[in-house]
C-alpha cells in the first residue's frame, strides 16, 4: 500500500503575508520511508505537513502521492492519516469509535471495522480501553489512540505533527521507539514533524532541516551530523550543540585566542576574506596542555556529570574572542574543578568551516 511522496516547488503564502511560510519546497520521500521535518518554530515544517494533508492550500507548486497529483484534492480524497500534536480525539466517542470513525464514514461494514479496530488495539495495547471515553485515559493512552486512529485506516501516508510533545520526558523516549518500530513494521511512508532534533535523529530514515520556510538540507541523521551544509544545520543538529565562532585567519591558521589552529589547505583556498566561521562538536575537543600551540585555554564554569558522559561549559580566555562559550565532552568521574583553567585542542579532521557571510560549509578535506 505504501507509496512515495513528492513535493515539487511547493509554496505556501498565507493571505496578508508577503513572505512564504514554505518557500519552493522540493522533497522526495521514498516508499516506506520515515522522513522527519525538523526546524525551529516558525520554520514552516508544520505548514509543509499540513499542505500534504490538505489542511493548508498550496499557493504554487505541486504535491504528489505516488504518481497522483493531490495538490488540490480534499483531505479525505488523499488517503492520508494524521496524528495531531494534541491528539484531536473525538471526546464524545469511545476509543473504539474514535479508531473506527473513518472506516464508518467510508461505509465499511461493521464487522470489518470491529476486526480492524481490534487488530490495531492489540498492536497498541489498547484492548482494555476500547469502550472508554478519551477523558478517562492517560496522556500516553490518548496518544496511542491517536496512533490507532491513523493505523486502522491503513493509509498510504502517515502525517505526524509533533505527536510526542505533550508526553512527559520518560514516556516520550519510550513512545519514540514504539512509533519508530511500528512504522518499520507497517512499512508505511511517514512524514513526521518535530522541533526536537533528538527525535529527528533517533527516528528518521532521513531528516529534512527547515529554516524560515526554506529547506536547508536533507540527509540521513549521521550525514547531517557529520557533513552539515551550512552553519545553521551544524548548530541545530546535535546536543549539546556544536561550538560555532568566527575567527581571524592568518597564514592558513585560525587564531583562536592564543592558539593557532591550522586550517586545511582546501578551506583556506575557499576563503573569501580573512575571517572564517569554525565549528567543532563538544566531542571533537580533547584535553591538551599549554605547550601545544594549537590549544586554547577555557575557564570551566559549569560541569554536567551525566554518569556516562560529562560536559564542560566554559568561557574561552583571551582577547578578541567571538565564540565566548564553549562546550566540551570530557571523561566523566575525573572532571576539573569549577573555575579551573583547562586547555583544549580540536581533534584533527573534526573541524567544520563555514563562510562568514553566507554560512555555507567550506571544504575541509
Amino acid at each position: 500500500m505504501s507509496t512515495s511522496v513528492t513535493f515539487e516547488k511547493a509554496t505556501r503564502i498565507y493571505p496578508g503575508s508577503e513572505k512564504p511560510a514554505v518557500d519552493g519546497l522540493d522533497l522526495e520521500i521514498a516508499e516506506g520511508e520515515f522522513l522527519v521535518l525538523v526546524g525551529p518554530s516558525g520554520c514552516g515544517k508544520s505548514t509543509s505537513l499540513r499542505m500534504l494533508a490538505g489542511l493548508e492550500d498550496v499557493t504554487s507548486g505541486r504535491i504528489l502521492i505516488g504518481d497522483r497529483d493531490i495538490t488540490h484534492l480534499r483531505p479525505k480524497d488523499r488517503d492520508i492519516a494524521m496524528v495531531f500534536q494534541n491528539y484531536a480525539l473525538y471526546p464524545h466517542m469511545s476509543v473504539g469509535e474514535n479508531m473506527g470513525f473513518a472506516l464508518k464514514i467510508a461505509g465499511v461494514n461493521k464487522s470489518d471495522i470491529d476486526a480492524r479496530v481490534l487488530e490495531a488495539a492489540k498492536i497498541l495495547d489498547l484492548e482494555p480501553y476500547l469502550d472508554r471515553k478519551p477523558k478517562a485515559l492517560s496522556g500516553g493512552q490518548r496518544q496511542r489512540v491517536a496512533m490507532g486512529r491513523a493505523i486502522v485506516r491503513q493509509p498510504q501516508v502517515f502525517c505526524m505533527d509533533e505527536p510526542l510533545s505533550n508526553l512527559d520526558a520518560k514516556l516520550r523516549v519510550s513512545t519514540r521507539t514504539q512509533i519508530a518500530s511500528l512504522q518499520r513494521r507497517l512499512d508505511t511512508t511517514t512524514v513526521y514533524v518535530t522541533h526536537d532534533q533528538v527525535e529527528a535523529m533517533t527516528m528518521g530514515d532521513r531528516v529534512a532541516v527547515l529554516k524560515d520556510g526554506l529547506l536547508q538540507q536533507v540527509d540521513t541523521p549521521l550525514g547531517l551530523y557529520d557533513k552539515p551544509k551550512n552553519a545553521f544545520v551544524a548548530g541545530f543538529i546535535g546536543s549539546p550543540a556544536m561550538n560555532l565562532g568566527t575567527f581571524c585567519v592568518e597564514d592558513g591558521h585560525a587564531l583562536i585566542g592564543e592558539a593557532r589552529v591550522p586550517l586545511p589547505r582546501s578551506t583556506v583556498g575557499a576563503l573569501k576574506g580573512d575571517k572564517v566561521q569554525l565549528g567543532f562538536r563538544p566531542e571533537a575537543l580533547v584535553l591538551s596542555s599549554a605547550d601545544d600551540a594549537a590549544s586554547f585555554p577555557v575557564e570551566a564554569l559549569v560541569i554536567e556529570e551525566l554518569g556516562s558522559d560529562a560536559f564542560l561549559y566554559g568561557n574561552m580566555i583571551g582577547d578578541d574572542l567571538r565564540a565566548d562559550h564553549v562546550v566540551a565532552r570530557i571523561a566523566p568521574r575525573s572532571v576539573p574543578a569549577k573555575g579551573a583553567k583547562v586547555w583544549f585542542s580540536i581533534e584533527p579532521g573534526r573541524l567544520h568551516a563555514f563562510d562568514v557571510e553566507s554560512g555555507d560549509a567550506l571544504p575541509t578535506d
Binding site: K76, Y87, P91
Partner: protein, 307 residues
C-alpha cells in the same frame, strides 16, 4: 458556561496557627474566614432584602391566584383566608386560555427549532470559516440588537402586512427569530470557538465534509451551548407581548402574552384570572428549562485534546 466550582476549603497555615494560638490562650487571632458580628448582620440583612424583593411579586401572584375574586383586590396584606381553585377552573374552561396556550406552544416551538438551526449554522460559519463580509455580518448581528422593539414593530408590521402574514403564527415566529437569532449566533459562535479546531481537521481527514463535521462532531460537543440557546429562544417567544398584540387580531389566534391582557382591561380587570393564568404559563417554561439544564454539563470536550 455552566461550570460551578464548589468552594474549596483549604486549611492554610494561618488557620492552623490561629487554632494553636487560641489553645494557648494567646490574644485571639482572627482567622481568614472570620467576620465581625456587625458585618455578618449587615451582609445577611442585605441578602434577605434582595431575596424578598426578588420573590415577593411571584409569591404575591401565586397567593392571589388562590384567592376568591372578591378577596383579590383588598389592599390589606393577608394570606389566603379561603383558598380556592375556582380561578384555575375558570381560566381553563370558561376562557380562550387553552387556545392561546396551544398557539403559544406552537409559536415557541417553531421559534426554538428554527432559531437554533439558524443560529447554530451561522455561529459555526462565523467560528470556522473565513468569508468576505464576515466582520460586517458580525457587526450587523450586534447592531440589530440595539434597536428597541417599540421602534421595530411598525416596520415589521408593514412587512408582514405586505407579505399577507398578519394574524398568522408565521409572522410571530419570524419576528421572534429576528430577535433571537443574532444574539444566539453570537453566543454559539463563542461556544464553537472553545471546541478545538483540530477536531474539525481530524474529521476532514476522516472523510467528513463541512456539514458532516458540523453535524457529527461539533454539534454533539456543543450540547450545553445549544441547550442555553434552546431555552433562550423558547422564552423569547413564550411570554412576548408587544409583537403578539400588534400582529394578532382575532381572539383565537392570540398567544398567551396577548391573551392574558384580555383579562385586565382598563375597566373591571379580572385579576383572579390573570394570576391563575400567570401561574399556569410558567409550567411549560419550567419543563423546557428542566430538559435544557440536563445538558448544561461542563467538560464535554474534556479528553479530546491535550495542551
Amino acid at each position: 458556561m455552566s461550570s460551578i466550582t464548589p468552594p474549596v476549603i483549604v486549611e492554610t497555615d494561618e488557620m492552623i496557627a490561629g487554632a494553636t494560638a487560641k489553645d494557648r490562650r494567646a490574644p485571639r487571632v482572627r482567622r481568614r474566614s472570620d467576620r465581625s458580628v456587625g458585618a455578618s448582620v449587615a451582609l445577611h440583612a442585605t441578602l434577605l432584602l434582595a431575596t424578598f424583593i426578588a420573590l415577593f411579586p411571584m409569591a404575591w401572584v401565586v397567593l392571589s391566584s388562590f384567592k376568591p375574586a372578591s378577596e383579590i383586590r383588598r389592599s390589606d396584606i393577608q394570606f389566603v383566608v379561603d383558598p380556592t381553585l375556582e380561578n384555575y377552573r375558570k381560566v381553563l374552561f370558561d376562557t380562550n386560555f387553552p387556545t392561546w396556550f396551544l398557539n403559544s406552544l406552537v409559536v415557541a416551538a417553531f421559534t426554538m427549532v428554527i432559531g437554533i438551526a439558524m443560529a447554530a449554522t451561522a455561529g459555526y460559519a462565523l467560528s470556522r470559516f473565513n468569508f468576505p463580509g464576515k466582520r460586517g455580518l458580525m457587526w450587523v448581528f450586534l447592531i440589530t440588537q440595539m434597536f428597541p422593539v417599540a421602534i421595530l414593530i411598525v416596520p415589521i408590521y408593514t412587512i408582514m402586512a405586505k407579505a399577507g402574514l398578519i394574524d398568522t403564527k408565521a409572522s410571530l415566529v419570524i419576528a421572534y427569530c429576528t430577535v433571537a437569532v443574532p444574539f444566539c449566533a453570537w453566543m454559539l459562535r463563542g461556544y464553537f470557538d472553545t471546541i478545538p479546531k483540530e477536531l474539525d481537521e481530524a474529521a476532514a481527514l476522516d472523510g467528513l465534509g463541512p456539514f458532516g463535521t458540523f453535524w457529527r462532531v461539533i454539534l454533539p460537543l456543543a450540547r450545553p451551548g445549544l441547550a442555553v440557546t434552546a431555552f433562550y429562544t423558547f422564552l423569547t417567544a413564550w411570554g412576548e407581548v408587544a409583537y403578539a398584540i400588534a400582529f394578532m387580531q382575532s381572539d383565537d389566534h392570540y398567544t398567551l402574552g396577548a391573551g392574558l391582557q384580555q383579562f385586565v382591561p382598563q375597566f373591571s380587570p379580572r385579576w383572579e384570572l390573570l394570576t391563575a393564568g400567570a401561574v399556569l404559563i410558567t409550567i411549560p417554561a419550567a419543563i423546557v428549562f428542566f430538559f435544557a439544564q440536563k445538558h448544561l454539563v461542563a467538560g464535554l470536550t474534556a479528553g479530546g485534546t491535550k495542551g
